[in-house]
Each structure stands twice: as C-alpha cells, then as structure tokens.
Symmetry: D2
Subunit: 300 residues, 4 copies
C-alpha cells in the first residue's frame, strides 16, 4: 500500500479500514467529537503496530473539519479560529510565559505551498517587545516567528534554519505550520490537522523536508497542517471510485500524473482564509487573555 498518498492520519486510518485486513487497526484509537460546531476527529497511534499500519509516528492527530468555512456560515471565521485554539491548547502543555517559536514552512511564491508563511504573517510576534519593554509587555508570552524560505531561495534546509533559530530563541515549544497533501478532494482546503509528533521525513507532497520533531529540536513540536493539494494520480483513483468504475491502485497511475497538483478553483482565496484561521488560532492559544478583536488591532 502506498502510505505516502495522504498526510492526514484520519485518511490513512480510513484506507486501512476499507482495506479490511484483520487486526490492521491495532494500536490505533479513533474518536469523533465536536468543537465550536465543527466535527473533530482524533486519531491516536498508541504503539508501534499502529505506527507501522498508519505510516506515521506514535502520537495524537486531531483533524478539524472546517468545510463550512468556505460557505461563509455565520461567525465561521471566529468559530474556526477558536476551534483551532482550543484543540491546540489541549495538545500544548505550556507554562505561562514560556517562549514559543512559530515556524511557517513552505514556499511563499507557490500558492498551495504558502499557507505556512502566510500563517506566520498573522502571528502576533511579541518576543522583542517582552524583552525591550518588559514593564509594558511583560505579561505577554514571548513569541517569535519564522517563515522558513525553502531550500531553493536560501540554500539552507528548513530544518537547519529552524534549528539555528531555536538555539537562539530557546522556545519551550515549536509550532510548525505546513501545507499537506490529502487523498480525498473533499478534504482539500477544508480541514486542519494538529499533531503532537512534529513533522517527519517523507511526508509532504514530494519535497521531503528534514524532520522537525522533539528528536531533532529538543523541544516538543506541534505540527499544524492544512491539506491544499491532491496529487494527480490519487485524484484519478478517487474519481473513478466515486464514479463506481473501479478501485485502482494510484501507484499504477503515478507516472502519468506525477508533477501535477490538483487544487480547488478558488485555491488562492481558501489558502488565505485558512492561513488567517490558523494564525489567529495560534494567537488565541498562546495569549489566552486576548480576543479576536484585540488581535486584529495589534496586527493591522
């Protein structure tokens, strides 16, 4: 089975269940809940059997289904940001005042890959204020942000760059925002996945990045991922299955569709919206005393 066709644990688990191999889901727990009106699925990989079956490290993977955001439901933006904040808070275990580093991965110049840099733009950066004006900003958590240029524009691996900055900032925790690949077109630009495992090599849409996790960075790394693309071959299989034609192995089609990305027609607007949801969700989680209006004021 091709485990790389999705970065979403919830999809990988679903594929396993559909495959129906007995015992395939040992070491994997799944729970459906709700947050601020959005469906939430938590997949917990509890041991090596689960990790091997799902193809991801042991840890918790929380998927928030924000499909309603694009429909501009009432207070959709506020509810989405608060849901991200609440699920993020549940994964974090941060002492008040402990510094945090937010990393926006991906290439700013490529629309489906720039959700990380754009989310970093929406992050309330406070570290310099806390250090220079402690009497005024001393009650804020020090937050630094880094929109890691990709390899091609800096010549430095994202992982190296994050490590270098982390050694200066010495954060208690790193939040890494990145674009993901999904298997199902219905999840693209419609979900956010939070994982307490960091980012591991081999994930992503074909551009393997170095691991960003507790092992490599020495502090917990929460990955915040948004699927923005489906690869061409995976789409083909999906469409056929939906059309009842066949259940083909995307691997067989891989050569044909390689180098192609499938995105929603309105990808630019949806990535912009989700980057703001993620950025504001991070802000609410890291500065629990602030409201969305406060953040809007600070950032504008």
């Amino acid at each position: 089975m091709d485990k790389r066709r999705t970065d979403l644990a919830v999809e990988a688990a679903q594929l396993l269940r559909e495959g129906g191999s007995p015992g395939a889901l040992e070491g994997v727990l799944q729970e459906e809940t709700e947050r601020e009106g959005w469906p939430v699925t938590v997949v917990k990989i509890t041991d090596d059997r689960g990790a091997k079956a799902i193809g991801k490290p042991v840890g918790s993977y929380v998927t928030i289904d924000l499909a309603g955001l694009a429909r501009r439901e009432e207070d959709a933006f506020g509810r989405a940001a608060r849901a991200v904040a609440a699920e993020l808070t549940a994964l974090l275990d941060l002492p008040a005042g402990a510094p945090v580093l937010v990393v926006g991965l991906g290439n700013r110049a490529i629309t489906p890959d720039n959700i990380g840099p754009k989310a970093a733009d929406h992050t309330l950066v406070t570290r310099h204020l806390v250090e220079k004006l402690p009497e005024q900003f001393g009650s804020f958590r020090p937050v630094a942000a880094l929109a890691a240029g990709v390899l091609g524009t800096t010549g430095v691996e994202s992982g190296e760059l994050v490590r270098a900055v982390a050694e200066k900032v010495r954060p208690a925790c790193i939040l890494a925002v990145d674009a993901l690949a999904a298997r199902s077109v219905t999840r693209v630009c419609a979900t956010v996945q939070l994982a307490d495992t960091g980012i591991t090599p081999g994930s992503g849409v074909g551009n393997a990045r170095a691991a960003l996790d507790r092992g490599s960075l020495g502090v917990p790394v929460i990955a915040i991922g948004v699927p923005t693309v489906v690869d061409g071959a995976t789409l083909a299989a999906d469409l056929l299955a939906e059309a009842g034609k066949a259940h083909l192995d995307p691997q067989a089609l891989r050569g044909a569709g390689s180098g192609l990305l499938v995105t929603p027609r309105d990808i630019d607007a949806r990535v912009a919206d989700l980057a703001k949801v993620v950025g504001y969700g991070i802000n609410l989680a890291l500065h629990p005393g602030l409201t969305l209006a406060d953040i809007e004021l600070f950032l504008s």
Copy 2:
C-alpha cells in the same frame, strides 16, 4: 461528445480523428510546420462542417509547442518570443502606424488565470507617448493595453469594458490574451494558441465570458491563449487511458471532479515565463524595428 473539455483546436481535431467517425474532419485542414525550432500546428476550419465538428468558429488556429521552454534550452526565451511574433505577424494585416489594443483577460489574483494581466504588464505601451511627444515617438505604433479586471472586482463584464475602451482607442486590431483549459496534461503551460477568430462564448474553464470578436467589437480580434489548467474529470480520463486501463467518458466523472483544477507543480514560474514570452512576442510583432534588448530597456 463533450467539446468543451478543451480550448485547443489541435486537441479537438485529434479527438475527432481518434473517434474515427467517417467524414468527421471535412472542413478542417491541418498542417505541421516549425518556427524558430518549435513545432507549429495550424488547424484551419474552412466551413460550417468543420466548425460544427470542432466546436469552434471558422478561422485559423495556430499552436506553437513550447515544451522546451521549461527545459531552459539555449536562447529558449528569445526563440519563443520570436516564434510568437512571427506567427502573430502572419495572422495580422496591420498598416504601419495603425493603433492596436492589447487586452489581458483573467483574474490577476488567481495564478493559472493571470497570464493575461501579466502579459499586458509586459506590453510596451506607446499610445500616450505617440500622442504627446509625436516628434520623439511618432515612428512607433500607438499601442494601448488593458488588464481587464474580472467581473467580481469591477462589476463590469470584461466584454463591456473592452468595448468601452475600444470606442475611445479606436484600434485597427485587438489582441486578447487569455488562459485556456487543455485536455492533455502535456500541453498545459507548454503551448500558445493564436486564433484569428477572437474569443467566443462558451470557451474557457467554466466562466463563460462575453464574445470578444469582430462581430461584437467591429475590428479583427486575435486571441492569444495559453492552456494553464486541465479540469479534474478530464485528467482522470487521460490518466486512465495512459495507464491502459480504460477509455472512459470524462462526462461520467464530471460531477466528482468539478470545481477542481489540475496544474503543474511549478505553475507560478511557468505562467510568469509564458506571460513574458507572449508579451515580448506581441512587442516584436507590433514594433518590428525593436530587438528584445530594446524592449527590455524600455520596460525595465
């Protein structure tokens, strides 16, 4: 048959041939040539039988295959711009000094749709200079350029806007640059189609725009189109056919893939390159005395 799945006459003709219905290509002539080292295919629809079969108006459709551009072959940019200029010149029948209006259609904020506005950015605009400084610029052809905002950002149809400006500028000819949808992934961001028919309703990737042709505008309209997307359902069929699995009707898959675009991974860079090729090609065709270096100097 679904004739709307491609905006390229060369693909529509190929589909007909593959369909093999006898007499299907009556009223259609096709010729393969070469320009500056690039393969060129001219499809001529000579009468109503051809127009009905191909699903496009009577006229000439010239496709330049620029696949080598992305490989950065030697002098690839210069050869591509000169090839566009030469084929454009062959379609134009412009007296020296006759004014021309260049229109960049599409939405600047959506990468695969912004080739038109970007090509307009690369167009050498001279009309105001010719009018205000005739002693200095009198030998130039007066060229005006318009990057038509899409409907949603102006509230005015592109067609209305172009007509309004054309009434002021009174051009002898209009060049309209637009993004197209292709059927085959191999042609996306790899070809330029020039057509002396203007742009007709019903083409495009689902956003029918009003006709921009001699009928509506009163002057010849040359359409310069670059395929930048494939629709999701069409891709599925293509991939399957390539994989030898089946030859499915994309129509059957249409519901599943609707709202999805398939683009190359490096769509941003390739659209930028092709917009420059088209813009410089237009400049060379409209100002035959200038070199690429001259244009670079004027535009920078």
Copy 3:
C-alpha cells in the same frame, strides 16, 4: 503665491488667512464640527472670489482629521469608516438603488499613489450580482469599481477610461479616490478630504490628470482625497517656519527639492489603513443597511 503646493482647501484657506490680505476670504465660509469623535472642517467656496482666492472650484470641501487612527485609539477604525460614510452621505443625494461608480486613481506600484487602487479593492462591488441574481441581490445598490491604471501602463488617460466605463455603467454619481499633496507634514496620512467638485486639472503632485467632474462626465463626482506626500521644497519652508528661522517662499527652493517626495516613515502601513477606512466608508454610505462586520464577511 503658489497655490499648487497643497490640494487641501483647508490648508489653502489657512495660508490666505496667514497672508492677511484684507478681503482675501470673501466667498469662503469655514465651519468646524465633529463626527464620531474626529474633528471635521468644512470649507465652502461660495462664489468666484472665493474660487480665485483659494484656487479651487466653487463647492464644499470637508476635511476629517483622523490623526488618532495611527495611535490605534479604541474602535478607531470603525469610527473613522463611519465618519467618512456620514460625511459622504451628507454630500451625496442618491435615490435608493441608483447605480454608483467608484474610481481608484493612481499608480498601484507607487506606495504613496496607490491609495486609490487599494480603496477600490475594499469596495463592495455589486453591479454584476444585482443584474444576474436580482431575486437575491435586488435590494443592493449596483456598484461598479474601476482602479484606473495610470497613463504609462495603459496608454489611455484616466479621464478617458473613466468616461468610457461611465458610458456603459451609467452611474447616478461617481466617487473618485486619489492621493493628494499636503503642505503641512502633520496632515499627511492623517486626513481625508471629501469634495463635491470632482477632480480638476492642475491639482495633484505634478501629474495633472484630466478633469473628472460633472462637466466632463455628466454626473456629480465626489472626490475623496488623502494627502500622502509633501513636496520637498514645501517641507523645507515648513520646517524652517516651525524652527522659527524664517518664512521662506517654497518657490525659491523648488528647483532644489523637485522630484522629491516627503512621506512618513511608516507610509506603507498608513496608506493601507487609510485605503481600508475610505473603502469601508464608501461601502457604509452606499449600502446603509450593512454593518462593518457584514462588509468584512462579503469582502474576505
């Protein structure tokens, strides 16, 4: 006296008063009021004597002092947008449902000149919705928006372009947003001037644009101007006067300072803020049933 050194009627009137020539302010009325907590000054030029003295056409010039916006006072953005809306409403005399054309003048690529295009970006464009989906949007006023490219990028004068579009849209009124030059550095990026006179030739920062007024366009034109620059020579005189050194004629310094613009250090952020204030103010004035939150939802 050099009347071109300011586009603000309130400054021109102040200069006259400082000059102290008897009778200089005949035909000019001035009133100080307040709107949403911001100081408002209305200069009314009532006859030709006033027009000649001030150097601007007969009409009303309303200046809203938004200096507090940069200090991020509480609800500053909302109060500013509502103040612009209220003063604009007082100048407009629009039947419900009458169409309006919003024009953003200036060059998008030059920061202090792009307030017009950016304000147009924040305008709620409804004309196409009202026409195509009347049952759903029939209660909205039809609004079209045009970010006029400058001469150099289109080859078409802003005035020609606006006239061309106005002939298609047939608005009951045109709102034209433009950057202005102020005389005093304290007014730069700190005020909005509304004038019911349209925009007249010879104003601006050295790039005279064709008149956009009732005479040339056939419908009332409200000019919404934001001073974003001071010219170099004017600044020199201002600084010296403030330092008590001398009261020099900027004309004498003009050669030296020509080609220079003086802007606030944070010009980019302040132009962005004011463009949003102006755009939202226009939206509130044209669609009195909407709140700021509604507009945020429609535009995002």
Copy 4:
C-alpha cells in the same frame, strides 16, 4: 557635529573638509578612480584619528556613483553590475570554493528599506546544489542567502538571526546588503557604498541594528549599502544651503522633521533597479565564470 546624518563615508569626509578644522582629515585617505565608466571614490580610514573624525570604523569605503543608471544610458545595467562586482572582488580575499552567506537586511514591506531583501532575491543560491549534486554543481562556490525579517515580524534581532545561520553555514565571508541614509538628495538611489568594516551599531536611519562585523560574526563582513532616503531635517538644511539662504544645523530642525523620510518620486522603480544591480554584481563577483546572461537564465 552630527555624524549620524549620513551613512556614507564620502559625505562625512566632505562635511569635515567643508568644516575646515585643521587636521580634521588626519587618518583619512581619499582617492578618485573610475570603474566601467562610473566615478568611484575610495575613502580609507587608516587609524583612530580618522575613525573618530569620520565617525566610522577603520577600513575602506568604496562609493560607486551610478547616477547615470536612472538615465538608462547604453548598457547601463551591465556596466553597473560589473562595476559592483569588480569593486567587491577587490575587497574580498576569497579562496575558490569557499562558502559565502549573503544577507539582505531591512523590511520587505517598506519600499526604501527593502533593497536588502530584494538584492537577496537576485542572488544565485547554490549551497544546496553544491551539497546535493556535487558532480553537477561542484565547480560552483556554495552561496547561501538570507533575507532577514526585521525585528517586528520575527521577534528575533537581525544580528541574532544572521549569527544563527552563520553558525550552520560556516561562510568564509558574509555580504550584508542594507539601505542607508544619505545627507545629500543627489546621492539617494544613485550610489552604492561597499565597506570592508561590516555594519556597526548606530548607523542606519534611526533603527540601530546590532553590529554585523568580524567581531560579532568571526568572519569578514562586507557591507553593501545603498542610500534610499534622506531624513526630513537634513533635507531642509540641504535645500537652504543650495538656495543660498543659510547654513543651518540640521540638529536644530530635527524635532520638526523627525519621522519623515525624503525619497525620490520614482523610489519603487529605482530601488528595484539597484537591488538587481547589487544582486547581479554579487553573483558576478562570487562566480567569476558566469556572464550576466548565464545568471539571467539561472534566476528566471
């Protein structure tokens, strides 16, 4: 004397000479030469007397006068890039193949401050290629580039960030590109200053950045500065002096003009041009085997 009103050693030396204090220029040598047709001035501060008088560290300051660039003289761009490359090469003492880190300082969102980030965009980044594809790119010098976000967007001081990356990249030399303040309006956007002293605290336009020099970074730092602004008070004094009115101390005017920047009207275009000159000059100096055309090909 106010030594902070200019970042250009050539201007500081000129001020001293104008002041006429005997012996003021001991420890300072100045030489006028030419490179690719552009005037070049080298100011050498040879000891502490010179350093104290000029207000800058001991070292060489090379100013290339590129005023002709804006006039688009023939081959102006190529000559300017080659002149920067030649002067840079003269300051560098780099073994072939030694790695280099290029740092673009300044805030990308503020036009006169973004010359550093933009020059970094034009830098040919090769470090990842040399490391991953040594057989193909082994003959290239490994070059990494970093567009340092400013404090407010990352919460990390530029200096800290550069140090962090330098510890990973271990360059033999750092090139730091930054915007400067000039005293004379005629030098703004018209000169490039190269200095082998790095960047020292207290320089710049009021935003003191931490030192980037051999002392703090352990390797030679070449500063490449482009003056893009004059401060408001300095301009006032300059204009008056030119107009023959007085020779005022800008310090007296400082309060009035503070917070204001004076820039050329066409600042956006000129910063873009100079960033490209600097970036290409760096590329030519670091990769002596390449031509401008090669670089264009690699970067596009």
